[in-house]
Symmetry: C2
Subunit: 141 residues, 2 copies
């Protein structure tokens, strides 16, 4: 469906059901989901969604992932309080990735940093270059 319609003009529309029927889920029924802060453009984190997580996110306006480690739906912020409110949800051309534009409360990262991409690489080394904005002990107490 996505491939067949990739050259359609702006405004071309299919039902959410048809789109979700045609996403390319992996063998675990998941697609990667990139979270980006809607106004600053910061890439905050990458997590995974199944069909139910996508549907819940669109219905509630609060971002829900599927936790691979816990094997269940994970409403972002349910233990830390650092929720993600949904601004936009998008699929890519290959129908195998979700992009969520969000309004992130506080840090997205479990380490207390604003985002998870704090290891910066060069051809020789990898260096931490971001500092927590909240002590992680305060996040999960």
């Amino acid at each position: 469906m996505f491939k067949d319609n990739e050259h359609q003009p702006e405004g071309f529309q299919v039902s959410l059901k048809e789109a979700l029927d045609n996403l390319k889920y992996n063998s675990e029924g998941l697609v990667p989901a990139i979270a980006q802060q809607h106004d600053t453009g910061e890439v905050l984190m990458m997590a995974w969604m199944n069909r139910e997580a996508i549907e819940e996110t669109l219905q509630t306006g609060r971002v829900c992932y599927f936790s691979r480690s816990r094997g269940k739906l994970w409403r972002k912020g349910e233990s830390s309080g650092q929720v993600q409110l949904l601004k936009e949800l998008r699929f890519d051309c290959d129908a195998d990735t979700v992009l969520v534009l969000v309004d992130q409360t506080g840090p997205a990262c479990h380490t207390g940093r604003r985002d998870c991409f704090y290891w910066k690489a060069d051809a020789d080394n990898v260096t931490i270059d971001k500092t927590p904005i909240i002590d992680p002990k305060e996040l999960y107490k």
Copy 2:
């Protein structure tokens, strides 16, 4: 390694080799890589990298992915001319995702659109809301 050092301060450093030894590659030896335009913040695309692709990207300054469909390294733009010059390469806290900040020449998407995330979803429908900036026939002629 990544988990053990997640509370280290800014400036903490490990060798690239140690980091690459400790990335959480999937069963195919790949990690997802998010490409973001370095100055505008646009999330352009998501693709995959293996260890060799990461090393080549850092050494050459030109972004190289691993094409799952072709089963080999893929220097972005090798057929379309729409290359990605590397500005920064980052790993996330879980050591299972790469973020590349790039300078993208023209469209990142094979459809001729600037980015791949042109299907916008709501609770009922999914709608194309971006137009090609180059006719895809011009990209691959």
